[in-house]
Symmetry: D2
């Protein structure tokens, strides 16, 4: 039995659901999940569908037929995946270790359907954690003068290991456009505030200063505009006047790791779809 | 333009989605919402669908065709509603006023797509609120000796006003089987605990005694088993050791009214479907 | 038996708690609640204390003694209240009714230890609600040309009724400096976003456009800087891509009324203390 | 400079705060934190206090004076700790690894002020994790026939390493009374439900069956009554009908590890105090 995931967005018009589901059914496929959404304002149709086939199915052939019979006439942006396929994930870190420990703990515990061929860092500090968990660790320093050089090394490593997507686990460097373009909507960042509040540096300090009663964390895809990419997941924690900045940072660590982990899970389960700088989340 | 809501549950088999959506499409209907779920354990297929027809459509005729062409062969339990149809809601209260104030405030503010032909109470206390909001108020005392009599009066009033569903807004009497049978999955109760914890009387006292750190409220459909009906909505609030029972009761008031209001909204939007003592919530 | 509430902030130094509690104890008072906090960064000591006296106590005399023996030497900003004293609250509204219904429902249900001598509005629309709940309603139009005139009328009414604090229950006008100065940290506003995100007009539209996964509401004291006053309370609700702006507005109504009600409760229980544009909340 | 933590509970009477704070002040100590609570129902006074002394202070002498001058006359249960003192923590595990990974990640990241001299397990499975993090791992099988033997080995190891408290990180064995008595209110368990709902085995299965809309986790001190000990911390997560039991278990993992970590932090910061089977949490 083979299982496929289909993601679509296209101009909204009548008959899409009926025609797509008939396409599956007529090939003896069974739809096990369908979630659809119409963006009325922009007249855009969005759908995620999971289907199973009893018979052996050639994914390449299915894609060609789908393209020819449906995708073209409905002007679809679409992707079709085998549900069994494991994504290759790269992790970028700097000096904070809590997100890295959390991701690697989940990885070893079998929570994440990925392989992790490499961890890249601009500092040496977390190399010992990579070693504990048997993941190759690449120390690539970044500074103003060697920026282009670092980017080149990054792209080589990512290409060499056939990386599908990148997780910035509190990586404290701005990602250059070259990498963003090579991984469109495939770089996941965790920002330690409830965006759009407190974008930029030192959000916990700003939150403390403003006297907010709740702090947050936001995971989003990286785009050329800093902290402006499509949001995948957010969560919050209550604080009070009695919490110091240090307390906020400590409380924030738990938020950051949980929110980032949820975003990674949504991405690897192919439950995200981006358009107009928004992330549709299928549940 | 007319809009319909279709709710289905039936044994799971291949082709249901394809056939139902084709049925709509072939009548020049457009599906604006579809949400589906397969209960793998029990092999049950569940779906909610909203569709729009440009042409004038005869709901009765559509139902007949649907029944003949699809419902019978798939052994469906199904309902089809006009989305414009307003439900008639009865409210039962005793002495607590917070849920009643909240529901009537929402009603007057246009939040609830219902009409409220009557409020029934076993006490006179809240009559003045009904009067403020211009809703007929029926005082029907209930006691061991006149229980059957009260039930008869209730059923007469409910039938006379063609009531569609009942909301127990902290009504402190057990609903007799006769009324439950007349309104299957159409009586909504609010219980002031996080069920199944603290079922029965005085849940805030029990919560206080147990030293829980979180209290809750649960809205559910009423069945013959007390506090055991299918859950529609739940929510919680944090408490601490410093809260007295009185504090819990006060904090609980907000929980109760919000959770009950959400359950009423889900019910009136036809976003609930009950089977196996569980409530499917379509979002 | 009489009960008093004491609120203090002053430069931090050793011995304050010991001396204040001895002051109470030596007058045969019993401390039933004490909560204290030291702002280490600014070296400020903050305390809230509730005490009971078996004997009849002259509040005025107690205040004089406290001032002479303690407040002066420790350079305290301090207030002492009789716990029995009910505050006089004015409500300002425009056209949105949900917060007004909620406040008046709570008021009638006995949840709020206040009297409400008047409701002021720049529109006539909500007069019927004030009437339902038997509260005097004053329609005072505000426009560019008659702004100063309106402010004068507001101040007259507030003074005439000896109003202690003002609640802006979605009042859609900027409060002029004259009123802010007359009610420092005594005007409570509800802003329909998670401040500092989406300050200013149309926050739900901005939230929708940004694609956030969580919306919020913020209650704060009004200062001369719009939406920049000290925050009293915040809360949030999860949303998804499938929610329209209209859905956000509807979901937001519940948030707004709950957050505003909590802020009013904290204020009337004398559990707030403002300094450095932050609100200390005693729990 | 030395910092001490004082925890007290005793019959409520006038003057305790005044006398205790004067005791500190007269020894040139400065109170940096005080939180107090009166259980009115049972007339019990509870307090947590942190104080700093500029001068070198002999903790033993301070304790003796406190005992003589205050503790005896007020019939206090009390403890006084040096804030610098690190607790020795033992971890018990079986086969689930998520809580263990989380605790050890926090430990290595410096979040927990403890040392971890040993991990004890009734299975060999998680030995490799202990090894990764360089913690001695003791495999002590438990079965009906060798129960007493296992208990003896446990107590020997705990005594040998001078263990202060035990964390059951999803340890799937009932703790014998001998160990509970040796560690009163010093064994922290994580139960994978919102207690008192779904006590006992397989709570996720029961939650699924009941159709709850929210699941929870509860951390509590272990007493002789299974799942009935004083609750330290609880939290919840929203679920829907579409979540399978497997999904609940996965979602629950995050809840369990966060709730357990918070409970450990509260315990090691000496912010918990137990009486009448309730845990007072100082914030």
């Amino acid at each position: 039995m083979s299982r496929f995931i289909l993601l679509i967005h296209c101009p909204d018009t009548a008959g899409i659901i009926s025609n797509v589901t008939s396409f599956i059914y007529s090939r003896r496929g069974n739809i096990v999940y369908i979630d659809q959404y119409v963006d009325v304002e922009n007249r855009i149709f969005v759908m995620r569908l999971e289907c199973e086939f009893q018979d052996a199915i050639n994914l390449q052939k299915l894609k060609e037929e789908f393209s020819e019979k449906l995708a073209l006439s409905y002007q679809m942006f679409w992707r079709m995946y085998s549900a069994e396929n494991k994504l290759k994930m790269a992790i970028f870190v700097s000096k904070y270790d809590h997100c890295l420990y959390d991701i690697l703990g989940r990885y070893k515990a079998g929570e994440l359907p990925v392989t992790i061929p490499l961890i890249i860092s601009n500092h040496k500090d977390l190399g010992h954690i990579a070693e504990k968990f048997d993941i190759p660790f690449h120390h690539i320093p970044v500074s103003r003068t060697i920026k282009a050089d670092a980017e080149k090394k990054h792209l080589e490593l990512l290409s060499q290991e056939k990386i599908d997507f990148i997780v910035l686990a509190r990586y404290m460097q701005i990602i250059p456009d070259g990498i963003i373009k090579a991984f469109p909507n495939r770089i996941i960042n965790i920002h330690h505030s409830f965006l759009p509040a407190f974008a930029g540096a030192k959000p916990y300090h700003s939150a403390y200063k403003r006297g907010v009663k709740i702090i947050g964390a936001t995971s989003h895809y990286v785009t050329a505009e800093l902290d402006e990419g499509p949001i995948i997941e957010q969560d919050i924690a209550r604080i009070s006047h009695s919490h110091s900045i240090k307390d906020l940072i400590l409380k924030g660590r738990d938020l950051e790791k949980i929110v980032l982990a949820r975003a990674i899970k949504l991405h690897t389960d192919r439950k995200t779809l981006v358009y107009n700088n928004k992330t549709i989340i299928f549940t």
